[in-house]
Symmetry: C2
Subunit: 132 residues, 2 copies
């Protein structure tokens, strides 16, 4: 049902500084990509086996604004897990009593359908499912 | 300098429930392993490319006790990144002005030398470096 761990997302108070931290340690770090439709700027830190996705707010209604108010230094925002068939995965999690944050999938940062699961139903962790 | 992302550690308020969540979704989940010398019980959730390590406190002086007081539902505690040479990595991070939580390495949950970096110097994220 679940596939690989696609990425760990970190909300940053200082995106450039955190990107520099990983770059200085020799990790492959992408340029900053603005994603206005998602309300974030993103930087990908590629470890080969998986990625860290660094995020900073874009515009006034960023989905990570509230998180950064609570976590002023930044912090780990969510984990993203790949699924072969996202509609089947949504059906399965609902049967398990796990709530999704939206009734339908949205198109995520990688151009693929995604859905977020309620942290209260996933051990306190915001989990994103992404179509492989 | 940095290698693969070895694992994402999640501190759990209900370890069995969170382990069941991943098991029910078809992920390979280990038995619960007590690590008295680290003050935690661990469960490994293996995604193939990387792992989630579920933690719950063991004994009175668990290092995740404070985290769970602040995050009552549980949450993502740290990320662990492999390094080919941990002593060189410690020297490098110190040159970068990044503090380590201990002056020397300790033997971690996998029997290998590890050191933790100060979250304030790593974008708000507790980062564990582990010898490959």
């Amino acid at each position: 049902m679940l596939g690989k761990l696609n990425h760990v997302a970190i909300a940053c108070s200082d995106l450039d500084k955190t990107a520099k931290f990983y770059r200085d340690l020799g990790v492959k770090v992408s340029e900053t990509v603005p994603l206005p439709e998602h309300g974030v700027y993103t930087v990908f830190v590629n470890f080969g086996n998986t990625k860290i996705e660094l995020l900073k707010p874009y515009g006034d209604k960023s989905p990570i604004e509230g998180f950064l108010k609570k976590n002023k230094d930044g912090g780990i925002h969510h984990v993203c897990i790949e699924v072969p068939k996202i509609e089947e995965a949504m059906k399965k999690v609902k049967e398990m009593g796990v709530r999704t944050l939206t009734e339908t999938t949205k198109i995520g940062a990688h151009g693929k359908p995604v859905v977020f699961l309620h942290p209260k139903d996933c051990g306190g962790v915001l989990v994103e499912l992404e179509q492989e």
